[in-house]
C-alpha cells in the first residue's frame, strides 16, 4: 500500500508532474517537525500573532436555555483573521519559507482560508495567489477585497460549478505548472499525502488546548465534541486529541443544504460513495459513473463534494459520527447563538451549533459538550439577511 493511508483511504493520486515535489514536501515537513527552531518560530507566531490559545468559553445562557448538557465553545473565531484556518496556514507558509519558496497559492471557498493564506504571506514576505470559484467570489465579496488588501491576487475560477471543488482543480493545475518556487497551501485535511496529515497536525492544537482546558474547567473529559465538516480540518483538529478517549463521542456536522433527499446538498458521508479524487481515496458525492456531483450548501466553506480521508476512516471504524444539517437549521442556529450568547458565528460553525441544539437537551445536566466555533460570521451577515429576505443597503 502506498503512503499516507487511513485504512483504505488516503494515498497520493496525483499527476507525475507533482510527484517529485510532493515527496520533497513530505521530507521537508518531517525535517521541520523535528526542528526546534521551526517549532519555536511557529509557536511564537501562534501565540503572539494568531492569539492562541483560543478561549474555551462556557456558554451559560445556551446551557440554561437548552436545559441539558453543559455547553462549552472552543472559540477559534477569536483567532487573528477570524477562523481556525490561521493555525494551518502559519505552519504551511513557514514550511514553504524553509523550503526556499517565494510564492504560495491556495484555494478558498468561503474565503477564510484565502484570507488566512494572504495574511501569512504578507507577514512572511511571500507572493500569494488565491483561486476561488466565481460564484464564491460573489457570495463572499468582502473576503475577496480583504485578500486584495493583504496583497494577494485573487483568480475567479469560471470552470465547472464555479465553487470550491473547481478552485481546488485550478490550484492543482497552477501548482503543476510552477512547482519550483511555489507551494500549494491546502486548506483542509484533504488532497494527496502529506497534506491530510500535515493539516491535521497543524490543526490538532485545537483539540490539544480544548482537552487541557476542559480538564482544568470541569476536571473531566467531555462526553461529546462537535464540529462542522466540509473537507474537515477544524473537526479533525478538534477530534485528533480525543481519538484515544473512547468515552468521548466525536460528531461531525455536514452540510445537508436543502435536504439530503433533494440532491442539493454537500453531505458526503450521508449520500456519498467511495472514490478517488483530488489526490485521495475517500468518500465523494458522485454519480453512478464516478462523475463528481455538483454540490450545494448555503455555506461556501462546506460546499465541497468530498471529505478528508482520516474522517472517512473514522466513519468506517464507527469512531466518529457524521450528521447532516440543513441550511434552514444552520440559519436558525446562526440567529440563535447571536441572540443567546452575543456571538455571530460563521455559517459553517452554525452547522455545529445546530446539532448542539438537538443534542444538548437529550443529555444530562452533569454531561459536557464542546462545540468548535471554527470562525466568525461577519462574512455571512449579508447572506443570512438575503436568506431571510432582508435587503441590506451598502
Amino acid at each position: 500500500m502506498s503512503k499516507g493511508r487511513y485504512g483504505i483511504h488516503g494515498g497520493q493520486y496525483i499527476p507525475e508532474t507533482l510527484m517529485n515535489e510532493i515527496i520533497h514536501l513530505e521530507e521537508c515537513y518531517e525535517q521541520c517537525q523535528r526542528d526546534e527552531a521551526f517549532n519555536r518560530e511557529l509557536n511564537r507566531l501562534l501565540s503572539e500573532y494568531a492569539g492562541r490559545p483560543s478561549e474555551l468559553y462556557f456558554a451559560k445562557k445556551m446551557t440554561e436555555d437548552l436545559g441539558g448538557a453543559k455547553i462549552y465553545l472552543k472559540r477559534e473565531d477569536m483567532n487573528h483573521t477570524g477562523s481556525h484556518k490561521i493555525n494551518n496556514v502559519l505552519g504551511q507558509v513557514l514550511l514553504a519559507k524553509k523550503m526556499g519558496k517565494s510564492r504560495v497559492i491556495a484555494e478558498t471557498g468561503a474565503g477564510q482560508h484565502g484570507v488566512a493564506t494572504a495574511t501569512a504571506a504578507a507577514l512572511l514576505d511571500m507572493e500569494c495567489e488565491i483561486f476561488m470559484g466565481k460564484e464564491d467570489t460573489q457570495r463572499q465579496a468582502l473576503n475577496v477585497y480583504r485578500m486584495e488588501l493583504l496583497g494577494a491576487k485573487v483568480h475567479p475560477v469560471t470552470t465547472g460549478t464555479m465553487t470550491l471543488k473547481d478552485a481546488v482543480n485550478a490550484a492543482m493545475r497552477e501548482w503543476a505548472s510552477r512547482v519550483s518556487d511555489t507551494l500549494y497551501v491546502l486548506g483542509s485535511v484533504m488532497g494527496p499525502h502529506p497534506f491530510p496529515l500535515m493539516v491535521r497536525d497543524f490543526q490538532s492544537i485545537i483539540g490539544k488546548e480544548a482537552r487541557a482546558q476542559i480538564l482544568e474547567a470541569e476536571g473531566r473529559l467531555p462526553d461529546a465534541v462537535v464540529a462542522c465538516v466540509g473537507g474537515g480540518s477544524n473537526a479533525m483538529g478538534l477530534f485528533y486529541r480525543f481519538l484515544k478517549d473512547e468515552q468521548v463521542r466525536l460528531i461531525g456536522c455536514e452540510a445537508a443544504g436543502l435536504g439530503v433527499e433533494t440532491g442539493k446538498h454537500a453531505a458526503t458521508i450521508a449520500k456519498g460513495s467511495l472514490g478517488i479524487f483530488h489526490g485521495m481515496k475517500s468518500y465523494f458525492c458522485q454519480d453512478k459513473f464516478g462523475q463528481i456531483a455538483p454540490v450545494y450548501s448555503i455555506s461556501a466553506g462546506l460546499d465541497y463534494p468530498g471529505i478528508g480521508p482520516e474522517h472517512a476512516q473514522l466513519h468506517d471504524m464507527g469512531r466518529a459520527e457524521y450528521v447532516p444539517i440543513t441550511d434552514e437549521e444552520a440559519v436558525a442556529a446562526f440567529e440563535y447563538i447571536a441572540k443567546t450568547e452575543g456571538i455571530i458565528a460563521a455559517i459553517e460553525s452554525a452547522h455545529a451549533v445546530a446539532y448542539l441544539m438537538k443534542l444538548a437537551p437529550q443529555m444530562g445536566k452533569e454531561q459536557v459538550i464542546i462545540a468548535c466555533l471554527s470562525g466568525r460570521g461577519d462574512k455571512d451577515v449579508a447572506a443570512i439577511a438575503k436568506y431571510r429576505g432582508v435587503n441590506i443597503v451598502e
Binding site: 494515498g11 508532474t17 510527484m19 465547472g160 465523494f284
Partner: protein
C-alpha cells in the same frame, strides 16, 4: 502483448509515430466515430480516446471544455466501450483510453478492464495514477492484457529508472510542466530525458503536451519515437463542431508528414 508494440513498424519499415487524441462524445458519440475514422485515414498510428470526466485536473482549458461538452451531451462509459468495439471491427490501429482513475474505480476494475479486452482497447492512460499508486490497477489490467501507460515529466529525472523499467505499451513523456494545451515554445531538455528513458526501456517513447505545429512535431519526433497531439485536434472540434472531420483529416495528415520527415 498488445498491438502497441507494432506501432513503430509500418509496411515492414521502422517509422516515427503520430498519436492522436480526442474526447469521446464531443460533440456527440456518432461524430466521435467519424472523427476517429478521419484520424486513421490521415495516418494516425495510435488513437487515444478520452473518456470525459467532470474534473480533469491534468487538462488545460481546451480539453477541459471538451470534457464538459461531452458530459453535457450525455455520453457515458458504456457508450464509449461500444464506440471502441465498433472502431476495432474496422481497424487494427492501437486504441488507448485516457481518463481519470475515479471513472475506472467506479465502473469496477474487473468490469472495466474485461470490457477493454472485449472491445479491443490496448492500453490506458490515467494521469492521476502515479507510479506509487500503480498497484491499484496493475494486476487486473495485466490479467486482461491492457497496458497501463506510464507518464514521465520534466521533474521525473530521478524516477526514470524505476518507472521505465516497469513501463508497458509506451512511455508518455510530458514535454513541459503544467497541463495539456498548445504551447508556443517547449524549453525542457527533452533530449536528455529521452536518452535516459531509452537506457532503461525498449518500448516506444512519445512526447506530448503542447505540440500543435508541424515544426514542433519534427523537432520532438527527432528526439523520440513520435509525438502525441491532443488539444490542437480538440480545438478543431470546438471550432467546427459536426463539420470538423475534414479539418481533422487535413491537420493530422500534415502532422503525420512532419513526424515522418523527422530524422531517426
Amino acid at each position: 502483448m498488445s498491438r502497441i508494440k507494432d506501432v513503430l513498424i509500418r509496411n515492414g519499415k521502422e517509422q516515427k509515430a503520430l498519436v492522436a487524441f480526442l474526447t469521446a462524445g464531443d460533440p456527440g458519440i456518432e461524430q466521435t466515430k467519424d472523427f476517429i475514422r478521419e484520424l486513421i485515414r490521415a495516418g494516425a498510428d495510435l488513437i487515444e480516446i478520452g473518456i470525459p470526466f467532470s474534473d480533469p485536473i491534468a487538462e488545460g482549458p481546451v480539453i477541459q471544455n471538451a470534457n464538459l461538452r461531452a458530459l453535457a451531451g450525455g455520453v457515458d462509459t458504456n457508450q464509449i466501450f461500444q464506440l471502441a468495439a465498433e472502431i476495432r471491427q474496422e481497424s487494427s490501429v492501437p486504441l488507448v483510453f485516457m481518463t481519470y482513475l475515479n471513472l475506472v474505480f467506479h465502473y469496477g476494475y474487473e468490469g472495466f478492464f474485461s470490457r477493454c479486452q472485449q472491445a479491443g482497447v490496448d492500453g490506458i492512460i490515467l494521469p492521476d495514477l502515479p507510479f506509487e499508486e500503480k498497484r491499484e490497477v496493475a494486476d487486473i489490467a495485466d490479467k486482461y492484457g491492457v497496458d497501463v501507460i506510464s507518464l514521465l515529466a520534466p521533474t521525473s529525472e530521478n524516477r526514470i529508472r524505476v518507472i521505465a523499467e516497469e513501463a508497458q505499451g509506451f512511455i508518455y513523456l510530458v514535454s513541459s510542466m503544467g497541463v495539456t494545451g498548445v504551447r508556443e515554445t517547449i524549453d525542457t531538455d527533452l533530449e536528455s530525458l529521452s536518452t535516459l528513458i531509452r537506457k532503461h526501456t525498449a518500448i516506444p517513447c512519445f512526447i506530448g503536451f503542447g505540440i500543435s505545429r508541424p515544426e514542433q512535431a519534427v523537432e520532438m519526433a527527432a528526439i523520440s519515437d513520435g509525438v502525441i497531439v491532443g488539444s490542437a485536434i480538440v480545438k478543431l472540434i470546438e471550432t467546427h463542431g459536426n463539420e470538423a472531420g475534414r479539418y481533422i483529416y487535413e491537420y493530422v495528415r500534415s502532422m503525420k508528414e512532419a513526424v515522418m520527415s523527422a530524422r531517426p
